[in-house]
């Protein structure tokens, strides 16, 4: 009784679900520079060059057969410590898309070099990207061109560095108050006072790595 008939809005059209290959082939037909790849454990995604992302996004949203109207998630991670051959030090920005009309999913990735991490914003296509991109900029340091309000969203405005990068050095103190408690067992070695705004080039490893972990996680 409770779930009355859907409100009849056109979002509830009969789902003509396309599988990933069909979607990839449709997109590559329109944009040849896009490459269909799959991750190490077989999850398919589309690798889009940064310049193309806005056009691809508009296609994905407006194309009748695709209709990716809901950007579920937009996040990113740092590949520098990922055991891939050849090892790359790029930053990945991943877009996870979903279509309410056709009930199919798609993952789109953009790989940008670490130094000039610049990706055009898609907040024009999906409005929620505004907040997601601010978070990726704040935590990962990927600058989004033409973003209406690109400011830090999580950390305070005068924070130094982007925490989710694998080579991030924890701050010794903030606002004049030491970060760690006196007598705390993980007292980091007294690192040199970081010069003004520039994060210290050689990141001191302030804390021993977590107990007996494999090669992967770098010391935070």
């Amino acid at each position: 009784m409770t779930s009355a008939a859907p409100a009849g809005s056109e979002l509830q059209a009969p789902s003509s679900k396309l599988d990933n290959a069909a979607i990839a082939e449709r997109v590559i037909a329109a944009h040849p520079t896009v490459a269909a790849r799959s991750s190490d454990n077989g999850q398919p995604y589309l690798l889009v060059p940064p310049a193309e992302i806005v056009r691809v996004a508009t296609l994905l949203r407006d194309d009748a057969a695709l209709r990716f109207d809901s950007l579920m998630d937009l996040t990113g991670w740092d590949l520098s410590k990922y055991p891939a051959t050849p090892p790359s030090s790029d930053l990945v920005v991943a877009y996870f898309l979903h279509s309410l009309a056709h009930r199919h999913h798609l993952t789109v990735k953009v790989q940008v070099p670490r130094e000039a991490a610049e990706v055009p914003t898609v907040s024009g296509v999906w409005a929620v990207a505004n907040y997601f991109e601010r978070e990726v900029w704040d935590l990962l340091g990927v600058r989004f061109a033409e973003h209406p309000n690109l400011k830090r969203i999580m950390t305070p405005d005068d924070w130094i560095g982007h925490p989710l990068r694998k080579d991030y050095a924890y701050p010794q103190s903030y606002n004049g108050v030491a970060h760690l408690r006196e007598g705390q067992r993980f007292e980091p070695p007294p690192a040199p006072k970081p010069a003004a705004a520039a994060p210290p080039a050689a990141p001191p490893a302030p804390r021993p790595p977590p107990p007996a972990s494999g090669g992967g996680a770098a010391a935070p």
């Binding site: 305070p156 701050p171 606002n175 108050v177 970060h179 408690r181 006196e182 993980f186």
Partner: protein
Amino acid sequence: MTEIIKPGNDEQVFTTTVDEFLAWGKENSLFYLLFATACCGIELMQTGGPRYDVDRLGMIPRATPRQADLMIIAGTITHKMASRVRTLWEQMTEPRWVVSMGSCANSGGPFSKYSYSVLNGVDKYIPVDVYIPGCPPRPEALIDGVMALRERVRKYRTVGIRDKDPHVVQGADCAFGSHPGKASSLELGASSPQGPKA
């Protein structure tokens, strides 16, 4: 443990009696500040709820720091929030106490080791009277902490002090003994925070 003024010595009988009466009033009507940041905030609401009902003990939640006597730090204090906590503490009117509820406020708790943005212990910014372990502490643990605080409140001196800080003179220092390796966090000495540098 600084020297506790035993009520027995006669020459201060009169002031102690008036102190005792005023302290009885303070002890039985501690209005706590509605300050809930994270998980402990939900337990603070449950403590104010019908089952544990701290209203029985005369504790009502107040929205403004002016009308609050007790600030219960319920939840994680991040670096970005810490200066606000200090401002709130300074806005409270004088007979004020602070209860640090939960591991996050005591010492940074689950976020003390690998988090870059959490302040490890709220006593870096404001002097704390009673620490309550737990993550989140049960409502009974919070009330047990408040009972420990009430003993402190009982020894608060209002009459006849010109220069000393009424808290310190009372002697009963930080509830859990002194912080490792330093004087009670209550003496606002070098080690305890003067708040953010100007």
